[in-house]
């Protein structure tokens, strides 16, 4: 049994999505830019997909630019925003962004930009007063995520956007984790640019889209042909675009049904997430939900198991067929504790032993029960190996204090 609870890293391709895209990997191989009907029918499919993505976001078709991924969307958005107002040299972002934002900001700092990294509190939440204090007439861009990939904590992006607009700043939202999971209506929003990525909502990897508000002064990042109305050169990845369109349509339906109490007796992913979280906390001592008191994505829970280390937990889970994550997929493989959990100021006892479980609409109750059955034993085993427990931790904490002073 494989229990896949790492959906914030990537999701399974929905079988309906796969079916929709397959013809464009076989017989329908025309180039949408060609001046013949063989390419023309492909172009029709591409534009239909654009309409589906636009619909999910409450946007207009012409506001959607297809690209390759969330990282491309984020890079493009930042460069486009800065190019539109070259005289402004200040950027505001948050300390808990994805590396696709943070690395660009660090790079821009070297190029002479001034970057403010807004902090988060113990619950992973921003303080809008801090944003207000950071904004000036010289702020070119406010770029923030909608929902955090590690904790699922949701930021008040509409309030952020309204505040930023008062200072004439461009607003970019990295909504990679939120699209398909939270309702979004850009027609009534002050957001200028928004990034999404296909593989987080059951489309394949390697496809993404950037929303660019109509009338925004956009400078393309990738130059070349006239695809995407000159805004992103390169022959379109048609099959994946069709897939993204289909995935968007399914997600839209799903979101609408989520609010429908007649949906039936199958527990939603939010209900399963709550079950998992509640039972883990009830059966395992010394653990807590990171960001648990903030508004969060319905599919994510990040739990800190004190006194043991995350990788060891993951390997134990892996042997039981359970896929989860410690920190984000992009930072696992490096040695540093998650920058998101660090920014939240979590104690080290929790920081190193935090595991993210992220569900999808394909997650079943039986899978959650399997995790609930094995997890207490895993934690017990690792705690038996650990030199720490509630009262024995002093010797190392003393050492920490010594090091810090």
């Amino acid at each position: 049994m494989v229990v896949y609870l790492d959906n914030n890293a990537t999701t399974k391709i929905d079988p309906a999505v796969l079916e929709a895209m397959l013809p464009y990997l076989s017989e329908l191989y025309g180039n949408p830019s060609s001046m013949h009907s063989f390419g023309g029918q492909v172009k029709t499919a591409l534009e239909a997909a654009r309409a589906q993505v636009a619909s999910l976001l409450g946007a207009q078709d012409t506001e959607i630019i297809f690209n390759s991924c969330g990282s491309e969307g984020n890079n493009t958005a930042i460069h486009a925003a800065l190019a539109a107002q070259p005289e402004k040299r200040h950027i505001i972002t948050t300390a808990v962004e994805h590396p696709a934002i943070l690395s660009v900001c660090k790079h821009l700092e070297k190029k002479g930009y001034d970057v403010t990294y807004l902090s988060v509190d113990r619950q992973g939440q921003l303080d809008l007063m801090e944003l207000e204090a950071a904004l000036t007439g010289g702020t070119a861009l406010v770029t923030t995520m909608y929902a955090n990939n590690e904790t699922g904590v949701v930021f008040p992006v509409e309030a952020i956007a309204l505040m930023a607009k008062e200072y004439g700043a461009t607003v970019h939202v990295d909504a990679v984790q939120a699209v398909g999971k939270l309702p979004i209506d850009l027609s009534r929003s002050a957001i200028d640019l928004l990034t999404l990525s296909g593989h987080k909502l059951h489309a394949p990897k390697g496809i993404g889209a950037l929303y660019v508000r109509k009338g925004f002064r956009f400078r393309p990042f990738l130059l070349g042909g006239h695809q995407e109305r000159g805004r992103r050169a390169g022959t379109q990845n048609v099959a994946s675009i069709v897939a993204l369109g289909k995935a968007a349509a399914i997600a839209e339906l799903d979101l609408a049904q989520g609010t429908d109490p007649s949906k039936g007796s199958v527990p939603s992913e939010a209900a399963l997430r709550d079950l998992l979280q509640r039972e883990l906390l009830a059966t395992i001592p010394d653990c807590e939900v990171n960001g648990g008191n903030s508004p969060r994505l319905p599919n994510t829970t990040n739990i800190g198991f004190k006194y043991i280390e995350g990788e060891a937990i993951l390997y134990m889970l892996n042997r039981e067929g359970i896929c989860a994550s410690s920190g984000s997929a992009c930072t696992s493989g490096s040695l540093d504790p998650s920058h998101v959990l660090m920014a939240m100021g979590l104690p080290y006892t929790i920081l190193h032993g935090s595991i993210r479980f992220s569900l999808s609409r394909f997650t079943t109750e039986a899978e959650i029960q399997h995790v609930l059955a094995v997890m207490p034993g895993i934690v017990d085993r690792l705690r038996a190996l650990s030199p720490f427990n509630n009262d024995q931790a002093d010797w190392l904490q003393e050492r920490d204090v010594a090091l810090a002073t």
């Binding site: 390997y315 040695l335 190193h352 190996l385 030199p387 720490f388 190392l396 904490q397 920490d400």
Partner: protein
């Protein structure tokens, strides 16, 4: 997932020798533990030893580890390796032995084996009542990596001992640089410095070797010079005064000839040369080589 060897995974899933050792107050038996790491660093090891006092031998070893898969496997491996060894034998175990026992570790996880070696040293030094930490110098000097509390001295020692070539390797071995990354540039500076020092000493060694070779050939080819004792001493004095002293004086030091006993030349270093850390090199390269070259290839030089 990491590319762990089967042995690593086996010892992780089925660790041996886990837990603490209680002191049963048995005669001729001592129980001690050594600890390294910290919860802030994300891994820590407490190694327990049971020692047969009369034989200075490890009867039993157990571990308690907070850390990842390979930290737990490394701890288990360490306890297996050292059981039955004398303390002196155990002190010869290094992190590479632990990694080898495990069938190798991914390079990014080498610090787990380092932690084992350090805990072992900590335990043995504690047992022997040696107050001073083995690598006392590690704790001195500038703190280079604040995230993991690593000093410049420690970085330098690891580069030298493990022949590390890149900043990434330094991080893999001692974690320095693996956190916020703000110390990476500093680590690179130390690395470049150490590499430069190493290259310089290789150059010196090479040029000395060349000179010695040339001298040896010259001796082989030239008719063996025969000097009376007086001639020899006069010539030595002359070379020291005319060729060696000016160089040393320019560096703030000086040398005087104390005695000549057969082929043994006894000199006295003065000024800055006296007590200088590299005075050994000065004698070996600057004085002895020159005298052998210019007077007799059989001469040896000693500083008094």
């Amino acid at each position: 997932m990491w590319d762990y060897s089967e042995k690593v995974l086996d010892l992780f899933y089925n660790p041996v020798n886990q837990g603490a050792i209680e002191d049963g107050n048995e005669p001729d038996v001592a129980v001690v533990f050594g600890e390294v790491g910290s919860i802030a660093c994300g891994d820590a090891l407490r190694l327990h030893l049971k020692v047969q006092v009369s034989k200075d031998q490890i009867l039993d070893a157990r571990f308690q580890t907070f850390g990842c898969t390979s930290a737990i496997a490394s701890s288990s491996a360490l306890t297996e390796i050292i059981k039955g060894k004398t303390l002196d034998e155990a002190l010869n175990i290094n992190n590479h032995d632990i990694a080898e026992y495990l069938g190798g570790l991914p390079e990014a996880k080498m610090h787990c084996s380092v932690m084992g070696q350090e805990a072992l040293e900590a335990a043995i030094y504690k047992y022997r009542g040696i107050e001073v930490e083995h690598h006392d110098e590690d704790d001195e000097g500038t703190l280079l990596c604040k995230c993991f509390g690593v000093t410049e001295n420690k970085v330098r020692r690891f580069i030298l001992e493990n022949d590390l070539q890149t900043v990434e390797q330094v991080t893999n071995y001692i974690k320095a640089g693996g956190g916020c990354g703000s110390c990476l540039a500093g680590i690179e500076d130390v690395l470049i410095e150490v590499q430069k020092e190493a290259a310089d000493s290789v150059r010196v060694a090479a040029s000395v070797a060349l000179k010695q070779e040339a001298a040896a050939t010259a001796v082989a080819e030239a008719p063996v010079r025969t000097l009376t004792t007086l001639q020899k001493i006069t010539l030595i004095q002359q070379v020291i005064d005319e060729e060696i002293r000016p160089v040393l004086i320019a560096d703030g030091g000086d040398v005087e000839l104390h005695d000549v006993d057969g082929d043994r030349v006894l000199v006295k270093l003065t000024g800055a040369c006296n007590g200088c850390a590299s005075s050994g090199d000065t004698v070996k390269y600057a004085i002895a080589a020159q005298l052998r070259d210019r007077v007799l290839p059989t001469l040896t030089v000693e500083a008094i």
